[in-house]
Amino acid sequence: MNKKDIIICRCEDVSLEDLHNCLEEGYTTFEDIKRILRIGMGPCQGNTCGLLAQREIAKYLKLPLSQVKVHKVRPLITGVKLKAIVENNKNES
């Protein structure tokens, strides 16, 4: 299949080709690639694309998967409406 048609990051619509080009340009850590292509910045927060990107980086750098870091886990774990946060707290007090 054409690399352009293989989607790595569904949230931000990043293809395997985009990822390979980015690696070729010299961005070879997940954190670097995230800042250029937005991989991991969408609603899934890297839950879907994280492992796929990690595997491609490992292949490119010829490293075992365990040596390729993915990005830091930060809150929130799932999308929560701002309103829900405001109201929830009202109920508590």
Partner: protein, 381 residues
Amino acid sequence: MKANIVIIGGGISGVAIAYNLAKKGMKDIVVFDDNYMTGGATGRCGAGVRQQWGTKGNCIMAKMSVDFFETAQEELQYHRDIEFKQEGYLIVATNKEEDEQFAKNVILQNSVGIPAKQLSLEEALEIVPHLNKDIVTSATFCNTDGHLNPFLMTDAYYHAAKRLGVKFFYNEKVTDIIVENSKITKVITKNYEVITNKVVNAAGGFSYEVGQLAGVELPVYSENHEILVTEPIEKIQGPMVISFSKNIYCQQVPHGSFIMGRSDLDVERGHDIGSTHKFLDEMAKTAVNLLPPLGDLRVIRQWGGSYNVSPDRQPIIGDTDQLEGYYLAVGFSGHGFMFAPMTGLLVSEVILGLPTTIDITDLHIDRFKNNETTEYEHSVV
């Protein structure tokens, strides 16, 4: 390795200084950074660019930096879009004191050529219809303020500097600066020893520590500032909305998501950049109060970053009589991204012994020797 100068820190300040020095013809410039590119404050910031400041020094720095951003894409010949969006900053007042202070600020801003104006509540609502009418009293607006992509702006400087021969080493921490007979002789990193007699401290949140490496005492400290991003939606807000009294800045970036932040007035000084529930709670309440329809947006991530704070909340730029060959670009107090083009220009001029484009007396570290003359910047979140 030998270098004419070592720049410590490859955030927006470091890359801008490197680019300006190389452009002016300096050779053998080396930049070390302890992290991946934009791993410091630069990659964590709101990346808002505004000229509506309360001190003359900040107004001029910001205005001239915006002039640069307008031409940066071309000047730096960057292959991606730096996403400079100029749809203004709407600074809202929520009480009489602010109405009066903002009127004075606008006069100051206009005096240095910044096209800011004061607006009535009705005029402000025309620009941002979803403002809460019940808490806003008036506003000021400057249509050439805006926002840039901080990752790509840094990358653009980085590529341009690299083409001019600057050597960059990321993930390479500077561990020591050797000083002999009051002169810098070497910079030591994890993997290198560099012979040099000039060093720039552009180490952001760690600039105090990088001062200590050379025995230079800096009046700065770091504190965590938190920020969050929502899911992207169709465009509903052009300008950044900001309120000092309500303690909030909030904007929709070209990608569609909203980015918003506020300060924790009780935050402890230090290097913690964690995420707290307290921030999420206060941020949600503040945002939904000022901009009610945002309540329906889902938050997808929150994070934190360092403000490196100076005593008057204006940057510290220039040399220091504490050590020959040691230069400073520190203490940006939460607005160093938007000043970076001027930081790069001014620091490079000082290093090369050229006359500076603007008078930097008010930005020089010596201003703190005589506290009485310091002008304090109040227009901050």
